[in-house]
């Protein structure tokens, strides 16, 4: 009997010590992890908008996050946008509810700061306080609007869609006319050497500068990529004097409306990314159009 007690005590003690060691590590590293993640997303966004070392961003560049929710009230569904609004010189969040056709329903002020709003948990509790108890909300997605000097510079949209293996997470940047500024692959589980090539410049950069009209009808072709185009796309490998200004604009014009060249032996991954980006862009353009209409009609001064 004494043996069992001793064993149980020893085991419990070891478990407690182990758990505290891990808990300590967790609390210490959790903060660093969140910070690193945020930095990498921010860097990706700046990069997509075209800012970098040789093209520094304007000092007043800010990203405004708009969070989209689906609100269910009885049998009806509404879209709820958490929009940063300028009120009396300060920025607060307002929940703008729009019905499925795009007509304004109501707006509510949400007591949350911009920093807090980045945490899903905090957003949920703030919304719970403001919305009536018979309304249920589910988080849909977030978009970032980049502004500088009082003008909109562009939109950065995170998105997720099924790839060949599991899901592919991307970041898509568009300018105010919905021309694609760039595409960044954030996460994927595609096969190395095959589907994973979607991370390579020669695939990603094909999407750059595609206008919205062309994007809507973009297809994937299984043709080999012309060498010259490939060299042009791999921007990081450019050497001095490789392309003249004339050549660059020539190539750009030539391939502006061309379809996406699939990656060799990875057609499904290429198609998944193309269709995914198309959907993200189309849906966002439709939704921001409706939201802008409502904001103007209701005279809501969004921070963008």
């Amino acid at each position: 009997m004494k043996e069992i007690v001793k064993i149980t005590f020893a085991l419990t003690l070891s478990c407690v010590i182990a758990a505290s060691a891990m808990g300590l590590t967790f609390t210490v590293t959790a903060k660093a992890k969140k910070h690193n993640h945020l930095m990498s997303v921010q860097n990706a966004m700046m990069d997509l908008l075209g800012f970098g070392e040789d093209h520094p961003a304007p000092s007043d560049l800010t990203f405004h996050n708009v969070y989209r929710y689906i609100v269910k009230d009885g049998g009806k569904k509404f879209l709820g946008y958490m929009v940063p609004v300028e009120k009396a010189g300060k920025e607060v969040y307002e929940m703008v509810m729009i019905d499925l056709e795009g007509k304004f329903v109501e707006k509510l002020e949400v007591p949350i700061s911009e920093g807090q709003a980045e945490e899903a948990h905090d957003r949920a509790s703030a919304l719970e306080k403001v919305l009536p108890p018979n309304q249920f909300f589910t988080y849909a997605d977030a978009s970032a609007v980049a502004t500088a000097g009082g003008e909109r510079l562009g939109y950065v949209l995170p998105g997720k869609f099924p790839g060949f293996r599991t899901f592919i997470h991307v970041l898509v940047a568009m300018d105010p006319q919905f021309e694609l500024l760039g595409l960044e692959i954030m996460e994927h589980e595609e096969d190395a050497g095959l589907g994973a090539e979607i991370e390579q410049e020669y695939f990603k950069n094909q999407f750059k500068r595609k206008s919205f009209e062309i994007l809507k009808g973009l297809e994937v072709v299984k043709k080999p990529m012309p060498q010259e185009y490939k060299k042009y796309l791999e921007k990081s490998k450019w050497v001095e004097g490789m392309f003249t200004e004339e050549q660059i604009s020539e190539i750009r014009k030539q391939y502006k409306a061309s379809d996406i060249h699939a990656i060799t032996a990875a057609t499904i991954s290429s198609k998944a990314v193309t269709d995914g980006v198309k959907n993200i862009a189309k849906k966002f353009a439709y939704r921001i159009g409706k939201l802008d209409g409502v904001l103007e009609e209701q005279d809501i001064h969004a921070a963008f």
């Binding site: 020893a10 085991l11 182990a18 891990m22 590590t25 996460e187 589980e189 190395a192």
Partner: protein
């Protein structure tokens, strides 16, 4: 076993050559086949395993006199699992990009037979110093094997080493494909065997 007679350096070198976990003992082969696709992966996972091995060996060695014989295995498992969680959290927080390349394999270290075996055979009866060197040797042996595998596969598969374009072209994409892991490990094992046979023959054994 005459482990008590071995000097620290000998313990250390044994772990790398004579008792190399992957090539000789054929243990912990899952990562060897799965993610030895580049030298960087090898270095990273090698470091993780080294960390877990050394710290687990030292922890068990420190408390070896207090472990009740009946709960030996659960204690080893708990220790290993704790250190694996620690290194997992640290890597995820400070080197996220590299950590993602390794997928699940960092957390799978907890199931590596090599570490438990080492604790059972060595750390639970040897003092702290010897356990440390043995753990270090084993861990470095693993890292060495992973780096060699990674180098072969990265060079032959994508013409690069550590991300630097060495060959300028991709000889055989096949080597980067996961199934090649089996072939390369098998061939390297045969190679090590062959070296040992030749060495013994020279020594007249």
């Amino acid at each position: 076993m005459s482990t008590t007679m071995k000097s620290n350096t000998q313990l250390f070198m044994d772990g790398i050559l004579k008792e190399n976990p992957i090539f000789k003992l054929a243990l912990s082969m899952c990562p060897a086949v799965g993610i030895s696709t580049s030298v960087m992966n090898g270095i990273l996972l090698g470091t993780a395993v080294l960390f877990v091995q050394v710290f687990s060996s030292c922890t068990i060695s420190l408390i070896r006199n207090y472990i009740h014989p009946k709960i030996r295995i659960p204690t080893y498992t708990l220790t290993i699992a704790t250190w694996v969680t620690v290194i997992d959290l640290v890597l995820a927080a400070y080197v996220p990009a590299a950590y993602k390349a390794m997928g699940m394999f960092v957390r799978l270290i907890v199931a590596f037979a090599i570490i438990t075996m080492r604790l059972e055979m060595f750390a639970c009866r040897e003092p702290l110093g010897k356990s440390f060197w043995d753990g270090l040797g084993m861990g470095l042996g693993f890292m060495f094997a992973m780096i060699v595998l990674g180098a072969v596969r990265e060079l032959l598969g994508s013409g690069m080493l550590l991300g630097y374009d060495v060959l300028g072209f991709k000889p055989l994409l096949f080597f980067v494909l996961p199934s090649a892991g089996f072939f390369v490990v098998g061939l390297m094992m045969a190679f090590f065997n062959w070296i040992e046979v030749a060495y013994n023959r020279k020594k007249g054994v």
